[in-house]
Symmetry: C2
Subunit: 259 residues, 2 copies
């Protein structure tokens, strides 16, 4: 599942003006028919590796639409009825949980090719806000239909389990990070993690463009924005990374990993 076949050309370092312009044309009609999954260039990221032609036909009928979300807008909010899961096709998101007292925490960042919305499955409603960090496009996968497909296609069922389980493992790592690491180690881990994910999607592992603010990074890593900024400056002094505003170049990945 999770289709994303947009021409995600210059995602990381490209400026907003040059990012995937196609959704701008259709802004009046944000929900539209999606291209077929079987033709998707990012298929390997979103779907089980081996599928029969019949399975493909089945899946193409499932992913019925995409949706454009403009920067700062929400894809869904905490409390919204859970109906679909989403695949980021272009752009990026943050997921934010909020406490009653107004305290916020960023639980994750999602870039093109990654899934969104699995948290809502249990309670029947979403548990967090998903907010676009830039103008973005998602594939919409209606969960009721997906559930049916999973009972018919074994590898599909297995893939869903894998995705959910991977999310559990990812969150475990994040808990470890928040529970045991210093601010310096957290920021280093964050940068290396982003680098790895960009690389996995065909972008440069060494240089990329952060779509989130220092405050959002801090909120994700459990520290204040000033501390994030200080760590970036520190890494720069130590010649581990070069940070020019939101453009990051990782100079010494091994050194960063040793922090």
């Amino acid at each position: 599942m999770l289709a994303a076949n947009a021409p995600v050309s210059g995602h990381p370092t490209a400026r907003p003006a040059t990012v995937v312009p196609f959704h701008r044309i259709e802004q009046r009609e944000p929900v539209q028919r999606a291209p077929r999954c079987s033709a998707c260039s990012m298929r390997a990221l979103c779907m089980p590796p081996e599928l029969s032609a019949a399975d493909f036909a089945r899946l193409d009928s499932l992913i019925c639409s995409t949706r454009s979300v403009k920067r700062g807008d929400t894809l869904y909010r905490a409390g919204d009825t859970f109906q679909s899961i989403y695949a980021v096709r272009a752009g990026s998101f943050k997921t934010v949980v909020m406490h009653r007292d107004g305290r916020e925490h960023v639980t994750g960042f999602q870039i093109a090719g990654e899934a969104l919305g699995l948290d809502g499955l249990g309670a029947g409603h979403h548990n967090c806000d998903a907010i676009a960090l830039e103008d973005s496009v998602v594939c919409i996968i209606p969960f009721a239909q997906l559930e049916v497909a999973c009972r018919e296609i074994k590898s599909m069922q297995h893939h869903i389990y894998q995705m959910m389980s991977s999310e559990i493992v990812r969150e475990s790592s994040q808990m470890m990070l928040l529970g045991t690491m210093t601010a310096e180690q957290r920021v280093a881990t964050f940068l290396l993690n982003l680098s790895r994910r960009f690389k996995a999607r065909g972008f440069s592992a060494a240089e990329f463009h952060l779509r989130m603010t220092r405050e959002e990074i801090g909120c994700y890593l459990g520290m204040k924005l000033e501390t994030v900024s200080r760590m970036f400056s520190k890494f720069q002094r130590e010649r581990l990374v070069h940070a020019d505003g939101k453009t990051i170049r990782i100079v010494d990945p091994e050194g960063l990993a040793r922090v």
Copy 2:
């Protein structure tokens, strides 16, 4: 899924000597045939609410065995091949992830009626160690068989999704706790959470027995054992809880929630 029909008599405050003695008899043969799920007193916690007689029969054939794990022993270790998920039938566990450098972090505590092992599904091997905090018993649910059952029984499939999704949501809350709360708030939240879970399982919400050490609590909450101890003392001074070693009595739950 997840059956647990042991006579989990005095779990929280009871002393080890009086806790569920039945597994001691069969220590030489720790894996044994389990009683049927359909007769399980904790069924509501582990299985979808409405099932037909045929579904029950199907499930009873699934949960084929239980296993005793002595205090300090591991149910599974990080790296072990994933084959089954587990339901705690009696006793309690902690799950621990370890970093290469030896740094440990406790990702969760599981008491009777709760699930264990869902993290292993994605990668095909477990991601953490599951260690018994006291002599315990688990139901073993072979995942391959469960997967088949989930394609046949719709409510069962849905229940698995719910359990995995709930784990994702639980971990989100824990990330929020680790990322945004003070030591005082973390300990208060921890005690109230335990209280709620004991209550849900029919035990006293006001008084219970901690099965974990201060160090393990600290490792779970992202602080040092000394800090945990200080917070307990602080709550005692403020007449919010009464803590006598591992026996905890929550005196003023509302006050604790306001911290």
